[in-house]
């Protein structure tokens, strides 16, 4: 085989690879669009009026997740299953974002932490690496940390909207999350840096609870909080 024949063969492989990446990029763009739409729906809960119809918003978000599942299904067909890590830089960011959105919906619905398994179900992907297109732990955790920030914001806006019970429940939830993260031994990477931000969320929510407590606004709320949960 001459050098030139050899390089023609190599170019064939390179082209195939570039085509795959192009395909992946396209699907990822549609995923990003859907993710942004879900975000727009869920951000409505911060509006004063948004607290009434949380269920409806969750419902609507759930519908969008149908689209997400279709898009992710399409994504996983774009490349050989065992080359997940060859291409995952392309979808990593949007996947973390989708985990956050799934976690947010689940929290709004049940005030619990979405498990990794539950998150993968919502997204229609595998929970275990061996089975195919899956959700890495780091990506799951990253999405969960975004949820923590969002809940800190929600605690503030709940009070503005006159809902004094919610911050107390958020506080309990976030404390549990914080304890959970303290069990992890994170490397000095981007996840570690994001985790360092969690303590600001914890503090912010504690201050909201404090503001309510000192004004006695947590009194009946506590009863409610217990009851509602």
């Amino acid at each position: 085989m001459s050098v030139s024949e050899m390089f023609i063969a190599l170019q064939g492989v390179l082209t195939a690879d570039q085509d795959i990446r192009e395909e992946i990029r396209k699907v990822v763009q549609t995923l990003e669009q859907t993710a942004r739409e879900i975000l727009t729906v869920l951000q409505g809960v911060h509006q004063g009026s948004g607290f009434q119809d949380i269920p409806k918003k969750c419902q609507k978000a759930r519908e969008h997740f149908g689209t997400v599942r279709t898009q992710l299904a399409s994504l996983k067909n774009k490349f050989p299953a065992d080359q997940y890590y060859r291409f995952n830089e392309h979808w990593r960011f949007v996947l973390q974002r989708l985990v956050f959105l799934a976690a947010f919906v689940v929290y709004l619905e049940t005030e619990t932490l979405v498990t990794r398994e539950a998150a993968t179900e919502i997204l229609g992907i595998e929970s275990e690496r061996e089975k195919g297109f899956h959700l890495d732990i780091e990506d799951y955790l990253s999405g969960v940390l975004t949820l923590a920030s969002e809940l800190a914001r929600l605690a503030v806006n709940s009070v503005t909207a006159g809902d004094y019970a919610r911050p107390l429940r958020i506080s309990a939830f976030i404390n549990e999350l914080d304890s959970g993260f303290r069990l992890l031994n994170l490397k000095n990477d981007s996840l570690r840096k994001r985790y360092d931000g969690l303590k600001y969320d914890v503090k912010k929510i504690e201050e909201v609870v404090y503001d309510l407590s000192i004004r006695g606004l947590n009194k009946d709320s506590i009863a409610n909080a217990g009851g509602e949960k």
Binding site: R36, Q43, V156, T160, R215
Partner: protein, 270 residues
Amino acid sequence: GHRREEKDSINPPSAMTMSFKAFQVELDTKHDKYERLVKLSRDITIESKRVIFLLHRITSAPNGEEILMESETKLDLVRQKIKQVAQELMGEDMYQFHRAISPGLQEYVEAVSFQYFIKTRSLVSIEEINRQLIFSEEDKDEEAKPSSDCHNKQHNTSSLKVTPVDYLLGVADLTGELMRMCINSVGNGDIDTPFELSQFLRQIYDGFSYIGNTGPYEVSKKLYTLKQSLAKVENACYTLKVRGSEIPKHMLADVFSSKTEIIDHEDGLS
């Protein structure tokens, strides 16, 4: 920089030399124009910033109308500068010089949209902004472009279009000013404005998150600051709500009027 056309060679210059001399003129002309535009852009930026400072004086001053009028006059002067830009760009592809003028235009969008918000409590559209940047030639200004090679144009109108990206970047910066206005309002005992502002800012924030990273990098880069401004406004509203919880709603008017008294009383002392 190009007045030694004939004197530097005894032999007749070759065709190649001739064309490079033409290139020299072409490049110098372009660079000179670029430089004039940079200077105009700096002027536009500075004057727009001063309009914004002026508008922030409204919350404290009782003469809002007067300040609004003054800001209008000042914005007209800025638009005169933009008109000079438009004249420079007449017949050009404005994107060729976009980097020179973009900073100024963004700051102008920020100033104009701030004024518009104060007047109407809504967001000025890019169409509205561009409508104001169509200039007729009747009000010919004399002092314009002293350094340019004054090619007397006899067109009827000139115009300039702010690009969507410049508009977005200007609006992104606007949110910083709105945040300042919000905190100022709280400090001045105005409890309605903060809630209005938080509604409005949330809409802009939602708008930017909807755009997300489909825009250019500069837009995505501003999202973080925007989010922080929103948080400051939301926190301010939160505080107003929480502290308002300690007295019945109907007492509020009383509380604030008495505060005003105190200030008036103290005013004579210093």
